[in-house]
């Protein structure tokens, strides 16, 4: 059971949240071409290590936010708001 800290409500169980996939995926220009659009629509970084991802506090305040979580240990290193830049996590590189 993950314990996720909503920036607005505090620490709650995983069952209160919905997972929204990888964060910081930006939409290409309309005329960017098939390769770039295909990459945007389907490809994901899916790292073994730090994953920057979106969650929604669905059964709480309903708001979206980001977390940085290790996909092997499931440890959460940072929680930050939508629109914030990806935080620096020195010494916590992907593995």
């Amino acid at each position: 059971m993950l314990q996720i800290t909503c920036p607005y409500c505090g620490c709650r169980d995983e069952t209160e949240y919905s997972f929204g996939g990888e964060s910081h995926v930006s939409r290409p220009a309309p005329d960017a071409g098939d390769a770039e659009w295909s990459d945007y629509l389907f490809n994901r970084s899916n790292p073994r290590g730090i994953h920057y991802e979106r969650w929604q506090h669905r059964f709480g305040c309903g708001r979206w936010f980001n977390i940085a979580r290790d996909t092997v240990s499931h440890e959460i290193y940072a929680t930050y708001e939508m629109g914030d830049a990806r935080p620096d996590l020195p010494g916590k590189a992907d593995n």
């Binding site: 995983e14 899916n46 996909t71 092997v72 499931h74």
Partner: protein, 406 residues
């Protein structure tokens, strides 16, 4: 066998050679699970390529091949999937004889339940599509279901309105499938190298030339990736991205009891399925955890949900204790159809994106990948499964069509 029994089973010879890596191979296959081993076997048998190594980070069949719930079926919706998965089922039907190894195939049928009128309509459409693809499927009424499995609770929280059964579906022992292909491949001269982790893929001018491993560098004419949940990690080593998300899919078994359920039963809507193994354990599975994971352990919320669903279907099972619970890392694609064939790197091939359903595809997956590697062009059965479909838009959406469970 009598001789070994009298010797207290102390002196069985090994089923395959545990090899050390040579400097060069014609084909290097990464991953000694069912798919990797089957690919090596068919390359040697059908295409006469014998200088092959299968590299395994852990131990043979210790990934998803040994972690799945052993279900075999071909009740898909789209013609491409049907043709491929039914070829696989046909190969399973002859596998014990082909490999001279009892894989304990039991075609006990797989029943899919409908819990509402609308779901029943959907299941009719699905079952009829399967018949149009020339594969067996039969609609069943609640009364027929009760006769088939007297322990079922038809008047559960979401009452059962019917279902459909593929009688040729069933289970086979997963370890035996891995061991049988390993032994047969080894007899053809294939090197199976365990405890050998691939740490890098070498390429020159867009063409794969070898791999870096924990046991040194190995050069190869052709390389094939068959690593399930780690597909994205290997693709990254080779410098391209793949549309997969790695997630933990869990399964569990109860303590063993006398025979009480002789069909695999699955409910898409409450997301649970159960069968009874030959050892008497009830083998239970459900959906994957909702977030990315490489941890090979399942979360408690999903475990609770899955068990609750099974107990609603079979209240009698509530008396049983769970004996073991585990998880495998599955590589889920956006359309839940596998990714097979060539990659952006020349002479590098991929068999991945199997998501939650790779076990049933092992024989056909091995056969078609062997062809693809030997001929350097996709086997006709997997032409639609290439990475290029995510650019052309020709997705084969089994997730929507036949409710492939994730």
């Amino acid at each position: 066998m009598l001789k070994h029994a009298l010797g207290r089973s102390q002196k069985w010879p090994p089923a395959w050679r545990d090899a050390m890596p040579a400097k060069h191979y014609d084909v290097v296959i990464v991953g000694a699970g069912g798919h990797g081993l089957a690919t090596a076997y068919y390359l040697a048998k059908n295409h006469g390529i014998k200088n092959i190594a299968v590299l395994e980070k852990g131990y043979l069949g210790g990934g998803n091949t040994g972690r799945n719930t052993q279900v075999i079926r071909s009740n898909y919706f789209w013609p491409q999937s049907s043709a491929f998965f039914d070829r696989s089922l046909q190969l399973y039907e002859g596998l014990s004889k082909e490999l001279n190894f009892n894989v304990m195939l039991s075609q006990r049928g797989i029943l899919t339940l409908a819990h509402s009128h609308h779901e029943l309509e959907g299941i009719r459409r699905w079952a009829n599509a399967i018949r149009l693809n020339n594969i067996d499927s039969e609609i069943m009424t609640p009364e027929q279901i009760r006769e088939l499995m007297p322990l079922i609770n038809l008047d559960c929280r979401f009452p059962i309105r019917g279902g459909f059964i593929q009688r040729r579906g069933g289970i086979a022992r997963h370890d035996a499938v891995a061991w049988a292909y390993a032994r047969a491949a080894s007899q053809h001269g294939v090197d199976i190298i365990q405890q050998c982790e691939v740490t890098g893929i070498d390429a020159r001018a867009g063409r794969a030339t070898g791999v870096q491993t924990s046991k040194g560098a190995i050069s190869a004419d052709k390389i094939s990736i068959a690593v399930a949940g780690h597909t994205g990690v290997l693709a990254k080593m080779a410098g391209f991205r793949v549309p997969v998300t790695s997630m933990a899919l869990q399964a569990m078994v109860s303590e063993p009891v006398k025979p009480c359920l002789d069909t695999v039963v699955l409910s898409p809507v409450i997301h649970a399925y159960v069968s009874q193994s030959d050892r008497g354990e009830l083998v239970i599975g459900g959906g994957a955890d909702i977030y990315n994971s490489y941890a090979q352990r399942g979360g408690i919320p999903l475990l609770e949900e899955t068990v609750a669903s099974v107990l609603e279907l079979f209240p009698a099972f509530s008396r049983l204790r769970l004996m073991r619970q585990w998880a495998g890392i599955v590589d889920v694609t956006p359309d839940t159809t596998p990714i097979m064939g060539k990659t952006p790197v020349e002479k590098l091939y991929i068999s991945g994106g199997w998501g939650t359903g790779g076990y049933k595809a092992i024989p056909a997956g091995g056969e078609t990948m062997a062809y693809t590697i030997a001929e350097d062009r996709p086997h006709p059965l997997i032409e639609g499964f290439g990475l290029d479909r995510f650019q052309s838009g020709a997705l084969i959406d089994e997730g929507a069509a036949s409710g492939v469970a994730h």
